[in-house]
């Protein structure tokens, strides 16, 4: 593992975190008028994926898609503008936070319907195989999505056809406020089921950026070596409420203790402290990174706020492709 990569991972995770934190600060003003799901605490996996694959590879994501979009290299200004409902947004204000897209970097879209983007991701891989484009399709989804029929149906087809798909399951233990144990039998792992269905499988600490990177890197290699679709289960945790920007440990669906335990396992501090300890990075360097990201975020938010709203008539345009 080269230092550059460590640094890139750290920088990308910090970038994702700081963008989300800025959204959280601005959101209460009521100008971002759409449901918004943040990934604070879950930055390692999107960062690792982004650094493992090229922009010709494709990614599909979910309602919780900001981090995946940024990780894959999506344009920050367009994303923030989209959340503000502006005409310069990546979906021209039609989609909002839950409908992000940046085709120029292979970020193919997100869905607000759980499980909805999984088969679409498999379809991307089918086209890649038939058209011999050698692109990998990376599909992000949560633990909840593995309860949908479309997940099993999609996995089955991907295995049958040996498609170049990387299934990335970020298990954060909850679907909205429903804990895993009221939805799936205790003791049965999502990855075990995935393996039984014929996927190559790995299971990794999703708050450990380096481990996540290594796991993704080797899965990508297996896909490229024609070993069929691969699956990785990442254990992780979202810090804030399911939808919105507040802490909600007080409402009673999870304990403060559980939250604090996970917060201690912060993917960013963990990597940062390690790199500092090993003297692979200095405090000065970190300050520089922060300053650079802060500048970029300021620019993106200024761009979004200054951008004009779409013309009202735009609402009635776009039903069909011409």
């Amino acid at each position: 593992m080269v230092t550059d990569l460590n640094l890139e991972l750290l920088t990308l995770m910090m970038r994702i975190r700081m963008v989300e934190e800025e959204i959280a600060r601005e959101y209460p003003k009521g100008e971002m008028r759409c449901p918004t799901h943040l990934s604070i605490g879950q930055e390692a996996v999107p960062a690792a994926l982004g650094l493992c694959v090229s922009i010709k590879d494709m990614a599909m994501s979910t309602h919780r898609g900001h981090a995946h979009y940024i990780g894959k290299g999506g344009n920050l200004k367009s994303m923030i503008a989209e959340i503000y409902g502006k005409s310069t947004g990546c979906s021209k204000g039609k989609g909002g936070s839950m409908h992000l897209i940046d085709n120029s970097v292979g970020f193919m879209g997100t869905s607000a319907i759980v499980g909805n983007s999984i088969p679409v991701g498999v379809g991307l891989a089918l086209a890649s195989k038939i058209r011999k484009t050698e692109q990998i399709s990376c599909i992000f989804f949560g633990d909840g999505a593995t309860e949908e029929g479309s997940y099993y149906e999609s996995v089955n087809f991907a295995v049958v056809k040996k498609l170049p798909v990387l299934f990335l399951c970020e298990n954060n233990l909850y679907s909205v406020y429903s804990p895993l144990n009221v939805r799936q039998p205790e003791g049965r792992k999502i990855s075990t089921v995935a393996k039984a269905m014929g996927l190559g499988v790995d299971e990794v600490d999703g708050n450990n950026a380096i481990e996540s990177f290594k796991s993704i890197e080797s899965a990508v290699q297996r896909i490229q070596n024609n070993q069929g679709p691969q699956f990785i289960e990442f254990s992780t945790y979202r810090w804030l409420e399911h939808c919105g920007v507040n802490y909600d440990n007080d409402i009673g669906y999870r304990t403060e203790e559980e939250y604090l335990r996970w917060k201690k396992n912060d993917p960013i501090s963990k990597l940062k402290d390690k790199l500092l300890q090993e003297k692979l990075i200095s405090e000065v360097q970190i300050k520089e990174i922060i300053a650079k990201i802060e500048f970029e975020i300021k620019e993106a938010f200024a761009f979004a706020k200054e951008s004009s709203f779409p013309e009202n008539s735009e609402a009635y345009i776009g039903e069909y492709a011409i």
């Binding site: 449901p35 409902g85 947004g89 039609k94 607000a112 429903s178 709203f309 009202n312 609402a315 039903e319």
Partner: protein, 355 residues
């Protein structure tokens, strides 16, 4: 059914209906994503698990289609399942079980068994819900033989009709508009039910018949208040059930007024309002004094940006204009008198988003 002067919200009325019906019938079970979580589906499922236990009231996997089929099976073996979904859009995954199993069972197997399930779906508009969190697809359900589709407006009707829906021997889709959940009204205490398939006249008038449903009734009542000041009176019929539709109530009204405006919260093409116009045109043609009219949502996905939803929704002013046009009078002042509220995309100050 005791009468009294107790005002409660639509959401509380729903909660009471479930409590009363579960207490009255041990076979009723209630499940859905989030029904036992701290937010209790906008408080509509509050305290159910505490009262009736976790065998009868439970959260579920994110598995809408299978869980609907499971409701069908449970109902065939003696239970009375009530399912809840926080958005109609999420339930689209379960269309197979609803349409190919639930709605057909009684007919297809020679009337031996029916499927007494009730599916509560919440639909809405506004505040960035966007293309896949705001769809008012009631016409899809109303299209389907074998289903009953209920879509109440007031808390009192919501409570009585939910009770009736749960205890009805057929599959019922029960649609709640999110913008109604905080609306208050007088609601009797205790168990009572109201008949499915009966519309309600919420305003009597002689000039125009307005047929409406769910949240559109609120906009219609604002419109009628304005029209009354102009000396125009409307017969307002709140459908309450959109399958089967209470045609007699509609026809009887149109025979008096000779004019019909049908309102809908869904897309215009293929809407329930369109069906009403068709039937009225066929069955009351001789009584009509002017061409019928309808107001529904644009035939476009609902966009997310607040800039794009300005003027997108049918509001009281649109209804007023449509009525005045039918009477051939001047409507130039209406847009001034009834401007779009600011912000235009929330039902009231109580609504802080996101749902």
């Amino acid at each position: 059914m005791q009468s009294n002067n107790r005002e409660i919200t639509f959401a509380t009325a729903i909660n009471e209906a479930i409590h009363e019906t579960m207490a009255a019938n041990d076979n009723v079970i209630c499940y859905g994503l989030g029904v036992t979580d701290p937010k209790a589906v906008f408080d509509t499922t509050k305290n159910l698990e505490q009262k009736f236990g976790s065998e009868r009231v439970f959260d579920m996997p994110t598995s809408e289609n299978a869980m609907t089929g499971i409701a069908v099976g449970a109902s065939l073996n003696g239970l009375i399942p009530l399912m809840t979904h926080q958005r109609l859009d999420f339930f689209l995954l379960a269309m197979d079980q609803l349409i190919n199993s639930a709605s057909k069972w009684h007919y297809m197997f020679g009337s031996q068994q029916s499927v007494p399930i009730t599916i509560r779906l919440i639909l809405g508009r506004g505040w960035g819900q966007g293309p896949t969190h705001s769809q008012n697809l009631q016409a899809w359900f109303a299209h389907m033989p074998g289903l009953k589709v209920v879509m109440p407006t007031t808390p009192e009707d919501a409570k009585g009709l939910l009770t009736a829906s749960i205890l009805d021997p057929n599959p019922v889709v029960f649609l709640e508009h999110r913008w109604l959940h905080n609306v208050k009204g007088f609601v009797p205490e205790g168990f009572y039910s109201k008949p499915i398939g009966k519309a309600k006249k919420v305003k009597s008038g002689i000039d125009v018949t307005i047929v409406t449903m769910s949240y559109m009734t609120i906009e219609a009542l604002h419109a009628v208040e304005y029209l009354e000041k102009m000396g125009i009176s409307c017969d307002v019929i709140d459908l309450l059930t959109i399958r089967p539709i209470d045609w007699d109530s509609i026809f009887n009204s149109v025979k008096v007024t000779g004019r019909i405006l049908a309102l809908d919260t869904g897309f215009t093409t293929g809407s329930v309002a369109g069906e009403i116009i068709a039937r009225v045109s066929m069955d009351c043609f001789d009584f009509l004094k002017c061409k019928p009219s309808r107001l529904a949502m644009p035939d476009m996905p609902e966009p997310t940006s607040p800039a794009l939803t300005k003027g997108f929704y049918v509001r009281a002013s649109d209804i007023v204009i449509a009525v005045i046009q039918m009477l051939g009078k001047d409507f130039s002042m209406v847009k001034n008198d009834l401007p779009e509220p600011i912000p235009h995309d929330i039902p009231g100050d109580w609504f802080k988003g996101p749902f």
